[in-house]
């Protein structure tokens, strides 16, 4: 039975529930795939889960990456550089 007035205060996990947070970014992480060793440190530390490792290669979801730079900081081989969005 459905009751049209019933509404519940829950949210379900989904992509971009807070909107396209990529527009907040003023520096972007750029991955040098030649240096990347596929260790997943960036994937592990990204607070917004915008880094995906597909077939051993790192991909950043720029729609939602806020450009915080944690990935560049934790990368053990300095494969990620933060570049200004205006460049």
């Amino acid at each position: 039975m459905q009751h049209e007035y019933q509404y519940f205060p829950i949210t379900v996990p989904g992509k971009g529930a807070g909107g396209q947070t990529g527009t907040w970014r003023f520096v972007r992480p750029v991955v040098n795939l030649n240096k990347c060793i596929g260790c997943r440190a960036c994937w592990m530390f990204c607070p917004e889960a915008t880094i995906h490792v597909i077939d051993g290669k790192v991909e950043v979801d720029y729609d939602y990456c806020k450009g915080c730079g944690i990935c560049a900081n934790v990368c053990p081989v300095k494969a990620i550089l933060m570049e200004g969005e205006d460049q």
Partner: protein, 397 residues
């Protein structure tokens, strides 16, 4: 089974028969013996509920709500300062739409300390979005708590329910109580249903930030759910007759000698007993007065209260007050009917009223009603107001 027991024991038995899984408790005053009874039942292996002792009433509701959200039938009890300390979590429970039942043994609120009965603590939760019932005797305390689980878990409601009862004069009063068997209760109360459940396989966020329109939509849904609870309560009350000899749950509120009444007394709680005795004696003297006992504050059965428009005068007695304004029941009744309504605030902080007090209050009201000046709020207690000498800060030094 019939047995002599206090309202506290009756409530503990209702919790047992409802097969409650988690009881979150803070076992220090202001608490009632309902949780002691439950702990005793646990120690003797009569129930297998987890009794979780916590550091405050705030946490007691947290545990009860958490268990409810995880799909377990849960219960807690408190009153007075404890209920006030729980206040924030009371709102989280209704806002989360998680079914559960709480007993409130009402008591006065400090300052100053006063351990006696008064309903203001219960009334202060009026706007929190709970289903709110108030018992008048130990049997009703049992019935309302047991029905409460089913009302709360009904898909047309999905809200927590609190059952209030006058501290000491009801919670600790012993009378004959009828208990249905476990099989009968199992048939009456099906396994728990709820709108969502905490499940690691299907994660959800509870109480996350809701933008303005979504927040208001949720408030509106709670408002509608409380209103739709009125017919649910009647339906469940009728179904309750299958397992109980009591058939007075077909309406939310209870009438006494109202068929031919010219005047009506409105109140809720245990003192309805004294009021009925006073009414019987006044009836013998030819005074046609009846009583409407409010059993549900929320939902507020507007159509039942509106029937009061047929009488010549209405007297509302409150064991609670909204200071500077009047009793909450008085204000509710006044907002429902067009008649003149008189309010009497009395019984605060344990002030006892006997049958003679009721007769005195009623007779004064009747005199005023005949002169058509029976409105406003009167405070009734056995003392004169003394003049207090003020001290200025210099003297204090």
């Amino acid at each position: 089974m019939r047995k002599v027991m206090s309202a506290n024991e009756a409530v503990a038995n209702a919790v047992k028969l409802a097969r409650v899984g988690v009881v979150g408790i803070y076992p220090i005053t202001p608490q009632t013996t309902v949780i002691e009874k439950l702990a005793e039942m646990k120690a003797e292996g009569e129930i297998d509920a987890d009794i979780v002792r916590v550091e405050s009433e705030h946490a007691a509701m947290g545990v009860t709500l958490g268990a409810g959200a995880a799909g377990v039938r849960s219960f807690t009890a408190t009153g007075s300062q404890g209920l006030l300390y729980m206040h924030e979590m009371v709102w989280w429970a209704s806002g989360s739409r998680v079914p559960l039942v709480m007993m409130v043994g009402t008591r006065a609120v400090g300052a100053p300390w006063n351990i006696w009965n008064e309903n203001t603590d219960f009334m202060s939760e009026r706007d929190s979005g709970w289903i709110m019932a108030f018992a008048s005797n130990p049997q009703e305390a049992f019935d309302l708590v047991l029905q409460g689980f089913r009302i709360s878990e009904d898909e047309r409601v999905f809200l927590p329910m609190m059952v209030g009862m006058d501290g000491f004069i009801l919670t600790h009063m012993k009378t004959n109580v009828y208990l249905p068997s476990q099989e009968e209760v199992d048939a009456f109360l099906p396994p728990r249903r709820q709108p969502y459940v905490i499940d690691p396989e299907a994660p959800i966020g509870m109480g996350n930030i809701f933008p303005p329109v979504e927040y208001m939509k949720l408030r509106h849904s709670i408002h509608s759910a409380i209103q739709s609870a009125e017919s649910v309560i009647k339906e469940i009350g009728k179904d309750y007759e299958k397992i109980s000899p009591f058939n007075n749950y077909r309406t939310l509120n209870v009438k006494y000698r109202m068929e031919d009444a010219d005047y009506a007394l409105v109140l809720m709680g245990a003192w309805a007993g004294d009021a009925m005795e006073a009414i019987d004696e006044l009836r013998e003297k030819g005074i046609n007065i009846g009583m409407l006992r409010i059993r549900y504050l929320r939902p507020w059965a507007e159509s039942e209260i509106k029937e009061l428009e047929n009488v010549k005068g209405i007297l509302v007695m409150d064991r609670a007050t909204s200071l500077g304004r009047g009793g909450p029941l008085y204000l509710e009744v006044k907002a429902t009917v067009r008649n003149q309504v008189k309010g009497v605030v009395t019984g605060l902080g344990g002030v006892l009223l006997n049958k003679e007090d009721f007769k005195r209050i009623i007779l004064k009201f009747l005199k005023e009603a005949k002169e058509e000046r029976s409105d406003g709020v009167e405070w009734y207690y056995p003392a004169e107001v003394e003049k207090v000498e003020l001290r200025n800060p210099k003297d204090v030094e």
